[in-house]
C-alpha cells in the first residue's frame, strides 16, 4: 500500500521526531509513504497573513506536484499544512475564476483530484482497523488530547470532527490503551505563529493549556501538530514562568504514543529529541 506524503518544513527540521514516528508507524503497518518530489513550503501563517496570492499559489504547487506524481491521497501530518492545503482546495473549488487565475499565472496544472488526509484521518483509515492485535504495551496513562485550532476549524471547510470538544484523538488514544481525560482546553489556541515574535503571548496561551491538563491529572499531552508541539514543549520555560511553577508533563505526538503502544523503539520514535523529558 502506497500513499502520498507531504511532510512540510517543520517535519524536516524542528519537528523531525514527528516525521520519524509517522514513518515508523507506517512501516510497522506495511504502508509506504511516498514523499512528493521537490515539494515546497505551504507558506504557513506568514503567507496568508501577508499575501493572499502567495497563500494560494504555494499550496497549489504542492497539490499539482502530487497530481503529476499520480498520488490520489496524501498524508499531511502537520495540522497547519493540512489546513492550508484543505482551505486552498476549497477556495479553488468554490471559485473557478480564482482557480484559473492561480493556476494559469503560475503555469500549474491542477484538477483538484488529490485528497488530503490529516494525521487522524490517516490513522483512522489505515492504522486503527489493524491496531487491536498489535498493541503490546497499552499506553496506560491519563492523557489530555490537544487538538489546537487548525485541525478542527473552520468546520465549514474541513468538516472534520466537531469544533467544540472534538473526540477523534481521544478515541484513538482509548484504542491504544490510554485513559483520555475530559478537559477544557482541547481547542484553545496555543499561540501558534507567534512563537518567535511574541513569546510572551505563547507563554500565556500555552500556559493555560498545560496548566489545565496538569490540574486535571494528565500524565501526558497528546498533539497532532508540530506548531502545537513546539509551543507546548520547546516553550516550556515561558510556560513555567507564566504559571509560576515547574510543570514537566511531556508532550507526545499521537504517532509517538501509538508507536509506544505497539512496542516500537523509543529512539525510532524520536522521543529523545523533546525538550521536556519523556518519562512515560
Amino acid at each position: 500500500m502506497t500513499l502520498g506524503f507531504y511532510p512540510g518544513c517543520s517535519l524536516k527540521g524542528s519537528s523531525r521526531e514527528y516525521a520519524e514516528s509517522v514513518l515508523a508507524l507506517a512501516k510497522a503497518f506495511d504502508i509506504n509513504l511516498e514523499e512528493i518530489n521537490d515539494w515546497n513550503c505551504c507558506g504557513a501563517t506568514a503567507a496568508h497573513n501577508m499575501n493572499k496570492e502567495l497563500s494560494l499559489a504555494l499550496p497549489t504547487r504542492i497539490l499539482s506536484l502530487a497530481e503529476k506524481q499520480g498520488l490520489k491521497e496524501i498524508v499531511v501530518p502537520c495540522a497547519a499544512c493540512y489546513s492550508r492545503l484543505t482551505v486552498t482546495k476549497h477556495e479553488l473549488a468554490e471559485d473557478s475564476a480564482l482557480c484559473s487565475a492561480v493556476t494559469e499565472s503560475n503555469g500549474l496544472e491542477y484538477t483538484g483530484s488529490v485528497s488530503v488526509l490529516n494525521v487522524v484521518q490517516f490513522l483512522d483509515k489505515y492504522i486503527t482497523p489493524n491496531l487491536e492485535g498489535k498493541v503490546v504495551k497499552p499506553f496506560d496513562h491519563k492523557v489530555a488530547c490537544y487538538y489546537g485550532c487548525l485541525l478542527v476549524r473552520p468546520h465549514e471547510i474541513l468538516k472534520f470532527d466537531r469544533e467544540e470538544d472534538p473526540q477523534s484523538l481521544d478515541t484513538l488514544m482509548l484504542k491504544s490503551g490510554a485513559t483520555p481525560i475530559d478537559w477544557a482546553f482541547k481547542t484553545e489556541c496555543c499561540g501558534a505563529g507567534l512563537s518567535v515574535s511574541r513569546t510572551s503571548s505563547v507563554g500565556r496561551l500555552s500556559g493555560k493549556i498545560i496548566g489545565d491538563a496538569k490540574d486535571r491529572g494528565a500524565e501526558t499531552v497528546i498533539v497532532a501538530c508540530p506548531m502545537c508541539h513546539s509551543n507546548l514543549d520547546m516553550r516550556r520555560d515561558a510556560i513555567n514562568s507564566y504559571l509560576g511553577e515547574k510543570i514537566d508533563i511531556p508532550v507526545l505526538y499521537i504517532t509517538q504514543a501509538i508507536g509506544l503502544a505497539i512496542g516500537l523503539d523509543r529512539k525510532e520514535l524520536g522521543l529523545q529529541r523533546h525538550f521536556v523529558k519523556v518519562t512515560v
Partner: protein, 667 residues
C-alpha cells in the same frame, strides 16, 4: 337578448363637475342590449334607488349598471335595491365614475370619454353575469380546543360561557401546560399555581366543557361549521369512573426513578403517576413504557393496593368521532434543551440548566421546595449566571428570531434568586433587553436597581468546568469588549422557545399553514392574528409564536369571540364568489384533465381530487373539485388552469375577456 339598465349618477357635483353625465347616459343608451339609460343627481338616495327598482319592474331589466362611486362604497346598497325589485343581486355591477374618473381628472372631453369607456366595459360584463345565490352552510355549534395550556383553558372557558359546547383535548395526563410549571410570573410576581389552578378546576366543572386528557387529534375532515374530528383517547390503564384519586397506587408503585417531565427531569416520579399535585383531572395514568408489568409481565402492585379496583391493564386506546363547527389550536410551544449548545458543554454539565428547570427550582411545590439548589450536589449557588438569547437570534447554530419571553423571565429569575439567596451574586449576559410590555421595563429596572442584578452586555463565548466551578467567559461590549470571566456555581440558559415537536404533523392534519419555524401561521400578521387561512380554525397562545401569558390569554379570548361569532348564527352565508370546476355530460364529464396544478396553487387547500366512477365503481376519471366551504374566491386557481376548466363566479374568464375587449374596441 339582454335588457340592461344604465344609471348614471351626478353625485351632486362630484361627478357632473368634470363628466358630462347626460352624454354618458345617452351614449350608453345606444349600446346593444341596453334597454334603459338615465342620469340622476343622487342614485344612492331613496328616489334614486326607486328609479332603479321601478325601471327593473317596468322594463323587465335583466341587468343593471350603476355608474357612480366606488363599488367598495355602495355595491351592497344597489345590489340590495335590485334584489328588492326581484332582480338577482349579482346581476348588478358598478362603474366607478367618481373615485377613478371625475375626482382624478380635469373637466374635459377625455374625462367624459373615459367615463363612457368605464360604463361600456361593465355593460358588456353584465351581459355575461349569472344569477348567483349566497352560499348557506349549517353550523355545528360545538368547538374543539386542542391543547390545555393557559391559552386553551381561557379559550374553552370563554366559549363555554357564551353558552356553546366545547370539547377540550390535551395530550398530557393533566391540563395546565407550561404555566403550571412556572414559579411566579412577571411582571407582577404572583404565584402561577394560585392564578391558574382555579381556572383548571373551572374547566373540569363547567357544564359546557367536555375534557379529554391523554387525548390527541387523529384526523380531521370537513370545513367551517361542519368539521368531523377523530380523537384518540390514549389508554390511561385505569377506569376513571371508579378511581377516586386516593393516590395509594402512586405511593406504592415500586418504579420510582423516572425523571419527572413536570419537574423537567429535576425530580422523579413513579410509573403510575399524577404529573403534579394540583393536576386536573387528579387521577393517575400508567406510563406503559416504564411500568414493570408492561415490560416484564409482572408486578401489579397498583392493582393490589387500589381500594376501588380501578386499574385496567388491558384497556385500549379509544378512537372517538365528534362533530364540531370550529377549532381553536392552543398547543403551545417548547424550549430547546442545552444539549444543543456545543460551546456551553453539549448538556454535559449538570449545573447548566434551562429556564424551565429554574422555574421548578424556584417553585414552592418543586423538587427543592422553592430553594435554589444546584442539581449536581444540592448546594445553594453563591454565584449564578443567566445567559440570554441561548440559541435565539443565532442564525448560525440556532434560530434567527427572538424568543420574546426570555428577557422577561431572566429578569424574574435573577430577581427571585436575589430574594431567596441573600448575599448571592447574579449576572445576566444579554445583547438587548426586550421588555416591551405594560410594566415590563419597570420590572427589569427593578431587578437591576433594587435587587442588584449585574447586567453585562455581551454574548458568552463558552462555559467550562474547573474545580467545581463553571467558568463563564464573556466580554462587556460596553467597555471596549473587556473580558469578563465569572466562576459561577450555576448557569441558567434562556434557551430558545421553539415549536412543539409534531406541530408540522398536526398542521397537516388540520390543513393550516405553518411558518418556516413550524409555528402555526396566522391569516394576516396584523389584522387576522387569531385566524388561520382555513376558515373556522383559529389560533391561541404560543403555538403561533413565542408568547407570554397576557398575550396568550388575549389571543385566546380573541379566538373565542371569533368562534362565538360563528356560532351566533344557525347558518353561514357567504358571497358566492367562489371557484367551480366545469362539469359536462358523459363521456367527457369535465374538461379538467386532472393535472391538479390548481390544487397546489390554492392558498386555502380548497380544491380536492374527485373520482368519477362508473356504475361498477371503477374510476373513470380524476378531476378537481372545489369545496365551497373552503374557497375564498381569490381566483389563483383560474390563472393556473391550462385547460380553463376551473372558473370563478363573478370574475369568469368570459367576463374578464369581454371587459378587455369592450374597453379597447370603441363603438
Amino acid at each position: 337578448m339582454s335588457k340592461i339598465g344604465v344609471f348614471v349618477c351626478h353625485c351632486g357635483e362630484n361627478i357632473s363637475a368634470t363628466v358630462d353625465c347626460a352624454r354618458v347616459a345617452e351614449t350608453a343608451g345606444n349600446y346593444d342590449g341596453v334597454a334603459f339609460s338615465v342620469d340622476y343627481k343622487y342614485m344612492c338616495s331613496d328616489p334614486g334607488q326607486n328609479l332603479i327598482k321601478n325601471a327593473i319592474k317596468e322594463q323587465g331589466l335583466t341587468g343593471v349598471v350603476v355608474a357612480s362611486c366606488s363599488p367598495r362604497m355602495h355595491e351592497p346598497t344597489f345590489r340590495k335595491a335590485c334584489a328588492e325589485a326581484g332582480l338577482n343581486p349579482f346581476m348588478c355591477e358598478m362603474a366607478n365614475l367618481r373615485e377613478h374618473c371625475s375626482w382624478v381628472h380635469e373637466k374635459g372631453e377625455a374625462t367624459t370619454e373615459k367615463a363612457i369607456d368605464l360604463v361600456r366595459i361593465l355593460v358588456e360584463k353584465v351581459k355575461y353575469n349569472h344569477s348567483l345565490n349566497e352560499i348557506k352552510v349549517p353550523v355545528t355549534k360545538t368547538a374543539l380546543v386542542i391543547g390545555g395550556g393557559i391559552a386553551g383553558i381561557q379559550a374553552s372557558l370563554d366559549i363555554a360561557n357564551t353558552g356553546h359546547k366545547v370539547i377540550l383535548i390535551e395530550k398530557d395526563p393533566s391540563i395546565g401546560g407550561h404555566m403550571s410549571q412556572l414559579s411566579e410570573t412577571f411582571p407582577t410576581l404572583d404565584c402561577s399555581q394560585c392564578i391558574l389552578t382555579p381556572r383548571m378546576v373551572e374547566v373540569a366543572q363547567h357544564p359546557n366543557i367536555t375534557l379529554y386528557t391523554y387525548a390527541e387529534l387523529e384526523s380531521l375532515e370537513g370545513f367551517i361549521g361542519n368539521f368531523k374530528a377523530k380523537i384518540r383517547r390514549k389508554s390511561k390503564s385505569i377506569d376513571e369512573k371508579l378511581c377516586t384519586g386516593c393516590g395509594l397506587c402512586t405511593t406504592k408503585c415500586p418504579v420510582k426513578k423516572i425523571p419527572s417531565e413536570f419537574n423537567e427531569g429535576l425530580g422523579k416520579r413513579t410509573a403510575i403517576y399524577v404529573p403534579f399535585p394540583q393536576a386536573v383531572p387528579n387521577k393517575p395514568v400508567i406510563d406503559r413504557a416504564n411500568c414493570t408489568y408492561y415490560i416484564k409481565g409482572k408486578c401489579k402492585v397498583c392493582e393490589i393496593v387500589c381500594p376501588t379496583g380501578a386499574i385496567r391493564f388491558d384497556q385500549e386506546d379509544q378512537i372517538m368521532e365528534v362533530e364540531i363547527g370550529a377549532i381553536v389550536i392552543a398547543t403551545g410551544f417548547t424550549v430547546k434543551q442545552p444539549d444543543f449548545f456545543p460551546e456551553y458543554g453539549y448538556g454535559k454539565f449538570p449545573d447548566v440548566i434551562t429556564g424551565l428547570q429554574f422555574e421548578r427550582l424556584a417553585s414552592a411545590s418543586g423538587p427543592t421546595l422553592g430553594e435554589i439548589r444546584r442539581p449536581s450536589d444540592g448546594k445553594i449557588p453563591e454565584k449564578i449566571v443567566f445567559l440570554a438569547c441561548a440559541g435565539s437570534r443565532d442564525p448560525a447554530k440556532g434560530i434567527p428570531y427572538c424568543s420574546k419571553i426570555c428577557c422577561m423571565y431572566i429578569a424574574k429569575h435573577a430577581m427571585l434568586y436575589q430574594h431567596k439567596v441573600h448575599g448571592g451574586k447574579s449576572y445576566v449576559f444579554y445583547m438587548d433587553i426586550r421588555a416591551g410590555g405594560k410594566q415590563y421595563e419597570e420590572f427589569v429596572r427593578r431587578a437591576i436597581e433594587d435587587d442588584g442584578v449585574n447586567y453585562v452586555r455581551g454574548r458568552v463565548s463558552r462555559i467550562y468546568e474547573k474545580n467545581g466551578k463553571l467558568i463563564v467567559a464573556g466580554v462587556d461590549t460596553l467597555l471596549n469588549a473587556m473580558p469578563v470571566e465569572i466562576d459561577a456555581d450555576m448557569v441558567v440558559l434562556a434557551t430558545a422557545g421553539v415549536a412543539n415537536e409534531g406541530a408540522e404533523e398536526l398542521a397537516q392534519k388540520l390543513h393550516v399553514s405553518y411558518d418556516p419555524y413550524k409555528f402555526f401561521a396566522e391569516a394576516h400578521p396584523k389584522l387576522k392574528p387569531v385566524e388561520t387561512n382555513t376558515a373556522g380554525i383559529f389560533l391561541a397562545g404560543a403555538c403561533q409564536a413565542p408568547r407570554d401569558i397576557p398575550e396568550s390569554v388575549a389571543m385566546a379570548s380573541g379566538a373565542a369571540v371569533k368562534v362565538a361569532a360563528l356560532f351566533s348564527k344557525d347558518e353561514l352565508t357567504r358571497e358566492p364568489i367562489i371557484a367551480v370546476v366545469n362539469r359536462q355530460a358523459p363521456p367527457v364529464y369535465s374538461s379538467c384533465v386532472g393535472c391538479f396544478l390548481c390544487v397546489s396553487a390554492c392558498p386555502y387547500q380548497a380544491i380536492e381530487k374527485e373520482e368519477i366512477k362508473n356504475r361498477n365503481g371503477e374510476v373513470i376519471k380524476s378531476i378537481a373539485k372545489v369545496n365551497p366551504g373552503l374557497c375564498q374566491g381569490c381566483g389563483t386557481c383560474v390563472a393556473f388552469c391550462r385547460t380553463k376548466s376551473i372558473d370563478i363566479q363573478g370574475y369568469t374568464n368570459e367576463q374578464m375577456y369581454t371587459e378587455v375587449m369592450a374597453l379597447l374596441n370603441e363603438y
